[in-house]
Amino acid sequence: MNVTSLETFSLVAPEIVLVLAALVAYLGGAFAGLRFGWLVAAAGIVAAMSVTRGQAADAAFSAGISVDPFSTYIRWTVLGLGLLLCLVQSGDLFAAAVSRGPGLHRGSTCEEAGTFLLLLAGLSLVGVAGDLVLLFAGLELVSIPTYILLGLKRTDARGQEASLKYFFLSLVASAIFLYALVCLYGIGGSTDLGAIAARLNAEATGRTAQALLPLAIGLGVVGAAFRLAAVPMHFYAPDVYEGTSPGNAALLSTLPKVAGIVVLARLLALVGPAASPDLLWRIVVVLAAVTMTVGNVMALWQSNLRRLLACSSIAHAGYLLVGIAAAAAPSISPRLLTTGGLSATLFYLATYAIATIGVFGAIAYLGHRWPEWTSGSGPRPPREEIATVDDLDGLSGTNPVAAFAIAVFLLSLAGIPPLPGFWGKLALAISALEVDGTAAIELGSRRAWFVGLAVLLVLNAAIAAAYYLRIIAAMYFKTTKRGVQADGGLSAGVAMLVCLVLVGLVTIRPRSLLSAASRAGESLVPHVAAPSANLPDPTDTVAAR
């Protein structure tokens, strides 16, 4: 594949646009006002979107860059989420600007916007990376801006603790992941993913591969688990979310998860058909089961809103892993036309991210509230940031739109039909039940593992409903005299409303998103599927009825 360097540049044009926009934001920040940075960021993202749109969607390989439906889907996800997060993050700006409190830092927003754009560029690169080095570089380009954003946003002790905690753990996770890459290089003798896959297929029983592959799989999964906030690298999430702003929490609960899913998907594509396929799905099944249960059970006891959502994001990482596990154990019944596990995960990722950003956007938008105070009982105490579930008491009376939006997002996260979260869980449950779909459920068989996983998935959805309902009950069933400020800035409110509209669209037409996710998943992990001629045309069945 001889491609000129100019063509290579054109393949990563969206990322280049993002980096250029970041430079504009950095340099222009010296001259322009507070709002400038996020305007540049939004413009940069939109420009990157238009460039992505112009690119051909068919697979193009060049120097470790693969532009295929999978990476295009990831790009669109990243850019779409980036635009939403941009709105939420600039909402943080206003909260910081009006607050005289000690913990929140004023200014520095242009730098924040630039850093945020670099993060998006890194994530987008992870999506297109077809090479170990580029993959790792992209991941680091995600991590380093994250440290900066975490550190910039809050300067009180708790904020510092959060950013340090994230920093050190992220370093450890990166190191672990690097070992996995080293092992893969050792097997393949090349940094190119395609070359490694070819080598794995050619000598699946070779001694080097036999020894190194399990190690690579294990280390790679652990490295990805940190990004996903999945067990065993999940414990930082509640502390870090609590110690940062709602905007950063929204960022942390979505963008790193995208990176984690991409890494797992690439790993899957690499070793799926190769030497020890049993190992990968067993690890992922166990991780998925433990992660969702741990996340949900932890969440049951939280009273701090951001801690609660952190635990819920751990649980959702577990749900995401269900699809990965199913994709790692391809079905042995090729007659079935399937929507593979990876597609289900990619679909679920989008539905989860929209609802999560919506919730955090709403929290950022609500901002502060007045404490309990009656005139005559001394000076009015300062306003408090909305932090606990109790702070949302009676929100349906004081801010009905935000209360309604939060309720819809939470019901979607809980998987109540017909909201997007339900369609996502439906896709995941089907992908898990499909594994060896025709075999008997015998103890210890692969089918039994996956049926058990599906049962755990839906039971966890019921557990999760308990704490989501607690928030909804606080908003709707309680009354309060403490007014909510809604001083978080209009843009966060806009983000909330946009997410609400997106939730509505996916509810009515889940098909568009699912078919995009399905194409993306198929392109990376082709599923053993019957030719579509095997199935009657949908229009025919209608007519037959």
Binding site: L336, A440, I441, V455, A465
Partner: protein, 566 residues
């Protein structure tokens, strides 16, 4: 109006409450009375549409042969393995439940007329959304669409209980939601397993309920050790959700709490329609799709039904709260329906199917009247009530009527259903089971008969204490004290107007009168209501009944062989 096709008629009927909900929300600023009037008009229009649809259904000769009526179909999620369609239609199983949902929604609006002062817009909007979901769930012809409506009914009811309920409303709302959700997610997996099994073996991906019923006849789920007892596993998964909904006895604990804490309108919908979803699920999915597993489970579920009858009745007997008593009587009466369903004889299953409607009418009527009593006397404690018959004679008349309907007085609707269920159960016990089961079946059937006596006891005893007897608690609306001997004819004037104020008002009459009409109608001409449903019920239960008969035959043969061989 021949141009008005049944399909658009059905769609319009289900959409009407949603349109009404939007209207109620838009005119919310005009105050309580505008909102409740619009809600009442909406439910009445929906009822008229539903009634007209039912008339058209009955007039159409094609429906007698079991063809679904008024098909609506749009693709919703057709991608890869998914072929989810927004597909609606009525058939014999769903016809009366569909009508019942429309009828009880009117009742739910009118019983809330004066009771709901706090945030009325939200209340009526949720009530109308709930109505749309209830109509939709019975009309759904797609597995996923059914599940969507099935689960979605929880959301409005959660808010109705949690916001407008009584003292412990928050706990009741959350418990109700979690309990039913936990059960139904397992049902969800069971349904998906059926779909996938069918897709793998028939090579056609379909989520259409009818196609799945036909498909599982050709490719039944394995009921052997080699097949991993898949059919039984799926049956148990479906049972988890349906048994919670009914509720079948060990899983009933959410029901009294939810009923007692719910506002009257919510109780009416919950008792009248939503409890029936469990039974409807058995008839729609478990029985036709998993006949062998149903046959294996039938004796146990029959027994659990009887346990529910007796347990519910005994617990109802000791209740001091009138609403709680009726909630437990629901447990008892749903026990009859479960028992009739799993007796698996044509008479019993048809009776059980009719009893769904009957119980919907009588329990909804009783809950509505208890709500009215509570509004007047601000207590539901039986010991504090009394003498209602003299203060509110019409209320007492209706209370007596629904009580008699509930305990199965001949001539009223409850009698028909209960009689058919017991008759069918005795048929089963007498000649339909193997000798090993016969004794157990006879005992259970006799216990169920004892349950009838218990039912009459607790209901009539409660009526005697609460409705008749001396007055203990004066109505709050009255400024005067009423002593025990104060009849309706003594002092007119101020006391007389108090009595007038205390009796049913026009909107309360609107709430219960339609139900009373049907109580008599079904009681006097049950065939009108049995006939349209009978073919569908028989079709749904034929396969499990045959499987049950085969199983009993095999057991009998085995027993005979054991006795005859030395």
């Amino acid at each position: 109006m021949n141009g008005f096709s049944p399909s658009s008629h059905l769609l319009l009927t289900i959409a009407a409450p949603l349109v009404g909900a939007v209207i109620a929300w838009l005119i919310g600023s005009r105050g309580v009375s505008a909102v409740r009037q619009s809600a009442a008009v909406t439910t009445l229009v929906t009822l008229a549409l539903a009634a007209w649809l039912i008339v058209r259904y009955l007039a159409d000769p094609a429906t007698a042969s079991g063809l679904p009526y008024g098909l609506v179909e749009f693709p919703w999620l057709t991608e890869g393995i998914f072929d989810v369609r927004f597909s609606l239609g009525l058939d014999g199983l769903s016809l009366w439940m569909f009508g019942l949902a429309a009828l009880l929604s009117v009742t739910a609006v009118f019983v809330s007329w004066d009771a709901i002062k706090d945030r009325p817009v939200g209340f009526y909007v949720l009530l109308l959304v709930l109505e749309a979901a209830m109509l939709g769930v019975f009309a759904a012809r797609d597995v996923i669409l059914f599940y969507v409506f099935f689960e979605f009914t929880l959301v409005p009811l959660f808010f109705l209980i949690g916001i407008w309920g009584h003292d412990e409303r928050r706990r009741a709302a959350v418990k109700f939601f979690i309990y039913t959700l936990t059960g139904s997610v397992l049902t969800f997996l069971g349904l998906l397993t059926i779909v996938l099994w069918h897709a793998a073996h028939a090579n056609v991906v379909t989520f259409d309920i009818e196609s799945l019923v036909d498909g599982t006849k050709i490719h039944p789920l394995p009921m052997t050790a080699a097949g991993g007892w898949l059919q039984m596993v799926v049956f148990l998964a479906l049972l988890a959700g349906f048994a919670v909904k009914v509720p079948i006895v060990p899983l009933h604990t959410w029901l009294p709490l939810a009923h007692v804490e719910a506002p009257t309108g919510g109780s009416v919908d919950l008792a009248g329609v939503l409890l029936k979803l469990g039974i409807y699920g058995f008839l729609r999915f478990s029985m036709p799709m998993l006949p062998e597993a149903t046959a294996v489970a039938a004796p146990w579920l029959f027994g659990l039904g009887v346990a529910g009858i007796v347990y519910g009745a005994l617990v109802a007997l000791v209740q001091t709260d009138l609403k709680r008593l009726i909630a437990y009587s629901s447990v008892s009466h749903m026990g009859y329906i479960v028992m009739g369903l799993f007796a698996l004889t044509p008479v019993a299953t048809e009776g059980a199917n009719l009893q769904l409607v009957n119980h919907g009418l009588s329990s909804a009527g009783l809950f509505a009247l208890v709500g009215m009593i509570y509004e007047r006397f601000h207590t539901r404690n039986i010991a504090s009530l009394g003498g209602i018959a003299s203060k509110a004679p019409w209320l007492a008349v209706f209370f007596m009527l629904f009580t008699f309907s509930s305990i199965g007085l001949p001539g009223l609707n409850g009698f028909v259903g209960e009689f058919m269920i017991l008759l069918g159960s005795f048929q089963r016990a007498w000649s339909g089971v193997s000798p090993a089961w016969q004794f157990a079946y006879l005992v259970m059937a006799l216990l169920a008969v004892a349950g009838v006596v218990l039912g009459a006891w607790y209901m009539l005893w409660a009526v005697e204490r609460a409705i008749f007897g001396g007055s203990r608690e004066p109505p709050r609306t009255s400024g005067h004290g009423h002593d025990a001997g104060h009849g309706g004819h003594g002092g007119h004037g101020a006391a007389g107007t108090d009595h007038d104020r205390c009796d049913l008002r026009w909107y309360e009459l609107c709430a219960v009168l339609p139900l009373a009409v049907f109580v008599f109608w079904i009681g006097l001409t049950p065939a009108t209501f049995l006939a349209p449903a009978a073919p569908a019920v028989r079709k749904a239960t034929a396969a499990p009944a045959a499987a049950f008969a085969a199983r009993m035959q095999a057991e009998t043969t085995a027993t005979v062989a054991r006795i005859t061989t030395p």
